[in-house]
């Protein structure tokens, strides 16, 4: 009796975790898709940096649904704390003027794809509807494949560190040299100009 109760509780726990992962997946995928669309539509560089931030946060959420906890944290630290801030600095230092899209001038027949927001939205909606319809049709024909993996919720950072110090030691050292070179190069390139 007790065993059955414990089993029931365990399956409930598993279902709860799975549905939580599904919700997390849907939320991060929506965040990523919406900010990708906004990135394509905006012409303001400042707004584009914000949408880039949202898209990268969405990718971090996707890493979490893939059980890549270390990568999700690294993504947030490096991109949100580093790259996007650098981009904002560059935007502010270069004036941040709005830029026209290239397609209006050089490829007028492609302009509706990029130019008018309403046509773009309509095309996007139609393609999404087609994608969903095709996916569900494919799904009907597909056999039910249940992916049974011994799901491991253990943190990955320890095994990642061990791999980094054994199999990938050379790449690790190479990347550190690359980072040093990039640091020196960036400081050298962006130094104030001599008159």
């Amino acid at each position: 009796m007790l065993v059955v109760a414990i089993e029931k509780e365990r399956t409930f726990e598993k279902v709860a975790i799975v549905s939580f992962l599904t919700i997390l997946f849907i939320l991060s995928a929506l965040l990523m898709l919406v900010s990708c669309l906004a990135l394509l539509l905006t012409k303001n560089i400042m707004h584009a940096c914000t949408f880039l931030l949202a898209a990268l946060l969405g990718v971090a959420g996707l890493y979490l649904t893939l059980h890549a906890d270390t990568l999700a944290v690294t993504q947030v630290l490096v991109y949100v704390g580093g790259v996007v801030i650098l981009m904002l600095f560059a935007v502010v230092l270069t004036g941040g003027q709005d830029q026209e899209s290239i397609t209006k001038e050089k490829f007028p027949h492609l302009a509706p794809l990029f130019g008018s927001k309403s046509t773009f939205l309509k095309a996007f909606l139609v393609s999404m509807i087609f994608f969903v319809a095709a996916a569900s049709l494919l799904r009907l024909g597909e056999k039910e494949i249940v992916h049974v993996v011994a799901v491991n919720y253990a943190p990955t950072i320890q095994s990642l560190g061990q791999l980094l110090m054994t199999d990938y030691l050379f790449a690790f050292e190479l990347v550190s040299v690359l980072l040093l070179g990039a640091l020196i190069g960036a400081a050298l390139i962006a130094r104030p100009m001599k008159k």
Partner: protein, 101 residues
């Protein structure tokens, strides 16, 4: 619901957005944003395959290296953008036609 193909679709959308930004914009900073998205799509593919196919951690390490390289690339490219602005007072890519001022 959450399968390999859904992640592949998401990374495809990410890659396509990056490609459209790289090809369609004239501002150097928009092009850099597009490059970041393309690199992220590659990293997402690595992690998705390592979760659903190989079930080892090697894909995570590749994604880690991609993130580091993207950071280095962003630092150098933004320094170049600032230098370019110092020389030409604009970030328009059509003005970027000579190596030396």
């Amino acid at each position: 619901m959450v399968s390999l193909s859904s992640f592949l679709f998401l990374s495809f959308v990410l890659f396509l957005t990056g490609l459209m930004l790289v090809l369609g914009r004239k501002s150097i900073i928009f092009v850099l944003i597009g490059l970041e998205l393309i690199l992220n799509a590659a990293a997402l593919n690595f992690v998705a395959y390592s979760r659903f196919v190989t079930e080892k951690l090697d894909g995570h390490l590749f994604a880690l290296f991609i993130i580091v390289i993207a950071a280095a690339e962003a630092a150098v490219a933004l320094a170049l953008a600032i230098r370019f602005y110092q020389l030409k007072e604009t970030t328009h890519l059509d003005e970027l036609s000579e190596l030396k001022h």
